[in-house]
Amino acid sequence: MKLQLAAIDTWFFRDSTPFHMNDSPQTGVVGMFPPYPATVAGAVRAALARQAGWDGQTRWRDELVAVLGDGPADLGRLQITGPFLLCDGAPAFPVPRHVVGSDEGGAAWTPKALLRPGRHEVASDLGPGARLPEAPVDSGDRCASLLEPGAGWWLTLPGLRRVLRGELPQPQELLREGELWATEPRVGIQRKRNSRTVEDGALYSTRHVRPSPRVTLGVALDGAPPSWCIADSVIPLGGESRLAACQPWNSAPEAWFNPPGRDARTAVVVALTPVLLDAAAPRHELVIPGARIVSACIDRPLRIGGWDSQARTPLPLRNAAPPGSVWFCELVDPAAFHAAVVNGLVRAGAGTAAGFGLCATGSAPTWETRK
């Protein structure tokens, strides 16, 4: 089942900032976009349950639990892929962080180089064996260290495939975030019943997201019975009682990629959805079957939590690598690596059933490996 979710008016997806009545988070509450996988997974599970007869209040009966799982950590038989941001029905992805460029004097950001592991190991707090990402010497820019990732820019599917082949994206493959959605500050009040004036101190502010009419969210579901179809319905999605129109997502190209060849010794792995990092792994890093991470381009981690509505308690805040994070891997066990990759995609980290940890693999750029 593939679904496309379109905003009815605006959406509000909040991050981990506390948002209680009579609390005053010091920065207000900022909406984010796209939403985390767990948010969409929760909305879709609730919609499927209602479609299957759930009344919206009581605990799910066993038949629902068998399919949809029970609680935030157990998704039953469901496997969710996404959510993806769709532009004109086709998926778009944050520009991977190893694509660096510059914008001069307000002109559009222009990609200029693909970072790759440096030729030499560098003494650093990362310990032995780590190589820092650097631009190739022929990148054509005398200040390669000043080149920046394309924050606020997105790539079309052909553009991402081009990058994973080791090429720079073309201008027509770049989408500016400001053209995909806008934020709207909103103020909420609580009124006194008798006077219909604002309660003293009962004021809160949020920032909603208004996607462009060209923009929707795409999500694929496996494991639910076909009769539980929720296409052509309206479902609650996110906070502040916002809604999404749910439509079939049939026309889009499949998000597949060309993995490294069977005889390749290196691979580039790019996060398409947030990747929940393992606190026990070295440097809390990613574990990919058959691969050893030698370098990476990763921004500060996201802090992803949520709410356990059964236990009425916040879910623990966990670290996640943001979409667009890049890992440069050496294939120490190519067979194990290729066994884990399907259509150029690999799932890594925790929560993959809910949509976390979906990564694309690519063959380039390459670099000299060490024994």
């Binding site: 209680h20 988070p25 001069e104 560098v122 650097e134 260290s145 000043l146 990763i298 500060r300 623990p316």
Partner: protein
């Protein structure tokens, strides 16, 4: 032979910028500087030589290194950045030197945390909290990160490459989150949804001990935010010397300082009488001292000077929730008395009114320091920056502001709105003087914000204006100024420090702005704010909607005589029909000088900014925000209730 060891402490943004109040902002910035000083001390003790920035004369580092007695108070302003470069011998093990840095700053942090815990939580936490000690230990032990990379002296980009691979991970955090630093759990350990009474009991008792001014109602803090809030009170034990934080000016105090000075001069007796009444009736001591800290010595001790500036705002005095009195019957007389003060003459032909509710946050830093180091050499740049930093505090103080941080090429300060732009200009001139005639420029952002806007948002807006508007958008060597109102940017203006004008050579942008503001003052000026609305509408018609959003510039069609258009509007407003009248021409030039865009030319990298309106082959662009900013300044940032 030597190598360079680059060290960076973090996370900076989360620690400094997540601040509820100005004192937290200073506190985070100062603590980070102090920890950096301990890291540097560790490096020097391990045989390294700090080469960037130049710190041999830094007062904070000197204080940390020399050991001190009770009489030796530390410098009160943070001056050391969170990252630095040390020179080490080629055969020195960089990991050993880096470990010495880490030991130094971790020991200092641990000592500070222990003292805060002992002073405020040791007795209460086991009795009223759940796993508070574990939460404290987890957060204080895992919050900081020290990254380092060693390399060839010619490789100046090593730290930037290291930072492309972010590896710092905060611990997993369960439970309810801190209301100031929401990525960490609050200290009580209880969940509000199911254990509200227990959570409230913890925080109520703590609040009762510390006072509501120290821990506001509804604040529930994590360990890191709590240490940041409280370490100054145990500074003698925690860091070895006292810190004066009793009278840190709030945003409302900063907004009110010039009004206070004027009011004390014109109506000192009446103001003091009002202050005495407030002291009698206010439940909490209203003498916060924040305003007095910013006033000149002669007036600092006046009773009214020590009153928190909140008490000069009518809406505050009128609110039983905000201004808690011992006797409700005292509220109306206090309110009426305050209103009467507002109606007193100000000695300049008008009345005092009430203080502005807007203040200014100024953020400045040097442009392309990395390239400057490559072309001029690290020593030259470091010496110039040290010279610049040494004068920053005085420049800010001369403009009635308070410096929060001044180190390297960075400045963060809070100022009254009437002096902020002059201060920015003075800093820019000082920066160029420090580099003598070498190609170095400074960019700055000034956010005029409502005193009750969340401080973290205002700081984020300042960073956006500085990085995206002044630097990336206008080519650097620029000033970006914005009015932040109701959680959105209402006005956004950017200009080079000097800008082209209709007649004559380029003029300082601040002077152009002040000329317009003077003509828009409600009592004396000849340009009304309706001119802005009408010009906005006309430009919108000529150029399309792009001309009417904050910060936008648009290109009028070919052949449009902008000066004639402005002149026509002015003639209409003055009910005048002589276009050649010198006064009309003067007013037309004032308006026209602010309409044009003034970016720095992309082709011109010369040290003195060469305004290049639209670039050599680009058409002239126009925007209304310069005039809108002038109108804001002319109105002194007052809301309706503050009008006399």
């Amino acid at each position: 032979m030597t190598r360079h060891l680059h060290i960076s402490l973090g996370p900076v943004q989360g620690f400094v910028a997540q601040a509820r109040r100005t004192r937290d902002l200073w506190g985070g910035s100062y603590l980070l500087s102090l920890l950096s000083a301990h890291a540097m001390t560790g490096v020097r003790a391990a045989g390294g030589k700090i080469i960037r920035p130049l710190v041999d004369d830094d007062p904070l580092l000197q204080w940390v290194e020399r050991g001190h007695n009770d009489d030796d108070a530390p410098p009160q302003l943070g001056s050391l950045p969170n990252q630095f470069t040390a020179e080490i011998h080629d055969d020195a093990d960089p990991s050993v030197v880096a470990a010495a840095a880490k030991r130094g700053f971790e020991a200092a942090w641990r000592r500070i945390c222990e003292k805060v815990w002992q002073n405020d939580l040791a007795e209460l936490a086991p009795r009223l909290g759940r796993d508070t000690g574990k939460i404290w230990q987890r957060q204080t032990e895992q919050f900081w990160e020290l990254v380092w990379v060693a390399g060839d002296p010619a490789d100046s980009g090593a730290l930037e490459r290291r930072k492309r691979w972010r590896t710092h991970r905060l611990p997993e955090e369960a439970g309810d989150k801190c209301t100031v630093m929401p990525e960490l759990q609050e200290l009580s350990g209880y969940t509000r949804a199911t254990e509200r009474a227990l959570q409230d009991a913890f925080w109520s008792e703590l609040r009762g001990r510390l006072g509501e001014r120290e821990l506001r109602p509804r604040e529930r803090l994590c360990a890191v935010a709590f240490v940041k809030r409280r370490y100054a009170y145990v500074a003698r034990a925690a860091i070895g010397g006292s810190l004066d934080v009793k009278a840190w000016p709030s945003t409302i105090d900063v907004a009110a300082v010039l009004w206070s000075q004027r009011a004390l001069a014109a109506a000192g007796r009446e103001l003091d009488a009002y202050a005495s009444d407030v002291v009698v009736h206010a439940i909490d001591d209203p003498r916060t001292g924040g305003v007095s800290r910013l006033l000149p010595e002669g007036v600092r001790d006046a009773r009214a000077a020590n009153l928190g500036a909140n008490w000069f705002h009518a809406s505050f005095v009128a609110s039983p929730r905000l201004a808690v009195l011992d006797d409700e019957s005292a509220r109306k007389p206090l309110y009426d008395r305050l209103r009467a003060v507002a109606r007193l003459p100000d000695g300049r032909g008008g009345t005092l009114g009430l203080p502005p509710i807007y203040y200014a946050l100024l953020l400045a830093d040097g442009d392309r320091l990395g390239e400057l180091v490559k072309t001029l050499g690290g020593d030259t740049v470091s010496r110039a920056l040290a010279s610049f930093t040494a004068g920053v505090r005085d420049i800010v103080r001369d403009h009635h502001g308070v410096a929060v941080y001044a180190g390297g090429d960075d400045v963060l300060a809070l100022l009254p709105i009437q002096r902020a732009l002059d201060c920015a200009q003075a800093l820019e001139q000082a920066f160029r003087r420090a580099f003598e005639d070498k190609p170095a420029t400074l960019s700055a952002a000034v956010v005029f914000a409502h005193a009750r806007s969340p401080l973290g948002r205002v700081l984020a807006e300042a960073h956006r204006l500085l990085d995206e508007v002044a630097k990336d958008g206008n080519g650097r060597a620029s000033l970006a100024a914005g009015v932040y109102r109701g959680d959105a940017t209402a006005v956004q203006w950017v200009t080079t420090w000097e800008r082209p004008v209709a007649h004559g050579p380029p003029r300082p942008a601040i002077v152009c702005l002040q000329d317009a503001a003077r003509e828009m003052e409600s009592r004396r000026g000849r340009l009304s704010s309706s001119l802005i609305h009408d010009l906005r509408r006309i430009l919108g018609l000529l150029c399309g909607d792009a001309s009417i959003t904050p910060g936008s510039f648009a290109t009028p069609p070919d052949g449009v005589d902008v000066a004639a258009l402005i002149k026509a509007e002015i003639l209409h407003r003055l009910d005048h029909d002589d276009a050649s009248d010198p006064e009309v021409q003067r007013l037309t030039a004032i308006v026209e000088d602010l309409l044009g865009r003034s970016p720095r030319s992309q082709a011109d990298r010369s040290p003195r900014n060469h305004p290049d309106p639209g670039g050599k082959n680009e058409p002239r662009q126009l925007g209304i925000d310069g005039l809108a900013l002038a109108s804001f300044l002319a109105n002194d940032g007052r809301e309706d209730e503050h009008q006399p």
